[in-house]
């Protein structure tokens, strides 16, 4: 077996699984459970390959670059895709169900490749491989008007931002003559205005994926209109991969062009986008009446926090940013899981649909409490530590004090809208006197997974080192990294 194929074994397993799920869907059209099981088994097999025989090394001149850090991120996005597959069983319609699972697997493949590349061209290809299945997933209920509109918006904004990304890459290539990030980093600061234009265009492309202002317009509609499992994947997995590759592009490729307040570079651009995202996301979330839309605006605000971490311009902020985005993805995936279960039993995701949740299913209400309090940053949950670490790291750059102050103030505001959801779920009585509580909650895989995610968020808050140590260790210069067990020659 060629070394490249051996190193890409997890991705190959995932691809074969996706194709097998497609074939299963065609041959046995009604086999929902079989398709889900097959997708899960394939995904777990891929994760096991990734975990226990990780392939390391750089292939094809940096097109594929499998570092220990990339391995961790790949494992995270694969796990989030598996979460989406479990959720899909409770939120996708019967028609074309196997195709939905195959699309989730294809998107996961794109995210994994996105985490493991050092080349701008491969970044573009992997981003498209991630985005195209997500567009289709968002359009899954295309016969209804709102999802069709949301998906079209997502697709159009996405294609335009992909065009921006590609044009930016071509400008950067035109000036520097390379698409490799390491080769790019040897170029001194941005003297050439053409380089600045290319850099800003690439940032536009990434800002769409992170849903940062002014590229956030698609997010609320898509989160509301897409099947909730697809929204969970868009909010969690694709965000982790996009933030990681953005950080890699900025710190690894454009490190010398960071600039600062007053000097041209990418750091001031990110700082302004971060401030705008935090303000718009947190303020617009205050008036939402649909929990999925509320989570979308919360995602925009959280995109702002992440950009704040990157805006410091120091590679030292990388562990804080990655820790925060992973915790955020786990939390928001869990929150979407609660929304799926509420939608299933009450038929909607408006705030009123959450009334009396603590009476009808107390376990679910406690999970919702954990997720939303973590998003708001209340100790001892993981979100608190993530935000604390992120802001503390950003404060080491004295030019960013205003931005951190803004973030802390807006974070206090965000507590209000999370508490409104919790008021509906925990305090308000169910309409018509609690007759909703009729069917006893049966333990479904989604329910179990939501509980597991809540425990994970709690554990990551109590013992942040469990996640932080591998992250920081893999960021150190590669010396001890080669000690991984090799199971393929």
């Amino acid at each position: 077996m060629s070394p490249l194929l051996a190193a890409l074994a997890p991705e190959a397993v995932l691809l074969v699984t996706a194709l097998a799920v497609l074939g299963l869907g065609v041959s046995i059209p009604r086999a929902r459970n079989a398709a889900t099981s097959l997708a899960l088994v394939g995904g777990i097999l891929s994760a096991a390959t990734l975990r226990f025989c990780p392939g390391g090394g750089v292939f094809l001149g940096g097109m594929i670059s499998l570092t220990p850090l990339a391995g961790i991120l790949q494992l995270v996005v694969l796990g989030l895709a598996l979460v989406a597959i479990v959720f899909a069983a409770d939120s996708f319609p019967d028609a074309h169900f196997a195709e939905a699972l195959a699309l989730i697997l294809f998107a996961a493949l794109g995210m994994m490749l996105l985490c493991a590349t050092d080349d701008l061209l491969m970044i573009f290809l992997a981003l498209e491989l991630t985005s195209l299945p997500l567009y289709v997933l968002a359009a899954f209920e295309k016969s209804r008007q709102a999802p069709a509109e949301a998906a079209l918006k997502y697709f159009l904004v996405g294609s335009v931002s992909a065009a921006f990304l590609l044009y930016g890459i071509s400008l950067i290539f035109g000036v520097t003559g390379t698409t490799n990030l390491h080769a790019l980093s040897s170029f001194p600061g941005p003297g050439d205005p053409l380089l600045l234009a290319g850099m800003v265009m690439v940032l536009c492309g990434f800002a769409f994926k992170v849903a940062a202002v002014p590229f956030q317009l698609w997010a609320p509609d898509v989160y509301e209109g897409a099947p909730t499992a697809a929204a969970a994947l868009i909010a969690s997995g694709s965000k982790v991969a996009a933030v990681f590759i953005l950080a890699k592009f900025l710190f690894g490729g454009l490190g010398p062009w960071a600039g600062s307040m007053g000097a041209p570079g990418w750091a001031p651009v990110l700082a302004v986008a971060a401030a705008a995202s935090m303000v718009l996301g947190n303020l617009a979330a205050l008036v939402q009446s649909n929990v999925k839309r509320l989570l979308a605006y919360s995602a925009i605000a959280n995109g702002g926090y992440l950009l704040l971490g990157l805006a410091s311009g120091e590679p030292a902020s990388l562990p804080a940013v990655l820790f925060y985005v992973i915790i955020y993805a786990l939390t928001t995936a869990g929150a979407f899981g609660v929304v799926i279960l509420v939608e299933k039993s009450r038929g909607g995701s408006r705030l009123e649909d959450f009334d009396g949740l603590s009476k009808s299913s107390p376990g679910l209400a406690i999970c919702l409490l954990v997720f939303l309090m973590s998003l708001a940053g209340i100790p001892p949950l993981a979100g608190f530590f993530g935000k604390f670490y992120l802001f503390a790291t950003a404060l080491e750059n004295p030019g960013l004090i205003w931005l951190v102050a803004l973030a802390v103030a807006l974070n206090a505001i965000s507590l209000y809208y999370y508490l409104i959801v919790l008021k509906h779920a925990l305090v308000l009585p169910a309409p018509d006197g609690g007759h909703f509580a009729a069917p006893a909650p049966t333990p479904t895989p989604t329910r179990a997974l939501v509980a597991a995610l809540a425990l994970l968020v709690l554990a990551a808050g109590l013992f942040p080192n469990l996640l932080l140590t591998p992250l920081t260790r893999s960021l150190r210069p590669a010396t001890a990294a080669e000690s991984a067990p090799a199971c393929l020659p």
Partner: protein
């Protein structure tokens, strides 16, 4: 800076150049052929026969599915051609790799077929 000045000059010329004949045509029409609308002049001309029905006709657009499926063959051709040209110099593993690649593409076609996309509705 001078190169950008030149560029601006080109831009200005590029805007003026089409505007001048347009303005001349407009002035010509204004002076020599004033508008005198009438029933026969306003009616739409379709090969001399009186036109009936609205001009907006809906037509089937699901031909795009065939265009998408054609992509399978398109990509196959693009990759098969250089493969065939270098066929004699390639090791057996390359043949195997290409067969795997063709199988991947083929599954797309089989999937579309089984889904009934090729049946004209």
């Amino acid at each position: 800076m001078t190169s950008y000045l030149l560029l601006t000059l080109f831009l200005v010329i590029a805007i003026i150049f089409p505007l001048v004949p347009l303005a001349m045509a407009w002035a010509w029409a204004r002076i020599f052929s004033p508008a005198k609308p009438g029933h026969d002049k306003q009616s739409s001309y379709e090969c001399g026969i009186e036109s009936t029905g609205p001009a907006r006709v809906q037509f089937q657009s699901h031909y795009y599915l065939y265009a998408l499926v054609f992509l399978v063959f398109d990509v196959e051709t693009i990759f098969l051609l250089p493969f065939a040209a270098a066929f004699l110099d390639l090791p057996a593993s390359a043949f195997l790799a290409l067969m795997v690649f063709l199988l991947l593409l083929l599954e797309g076609l089989v999937w579309a077929w089984a889904k009934g996309i090729l049946a004209w509705k």
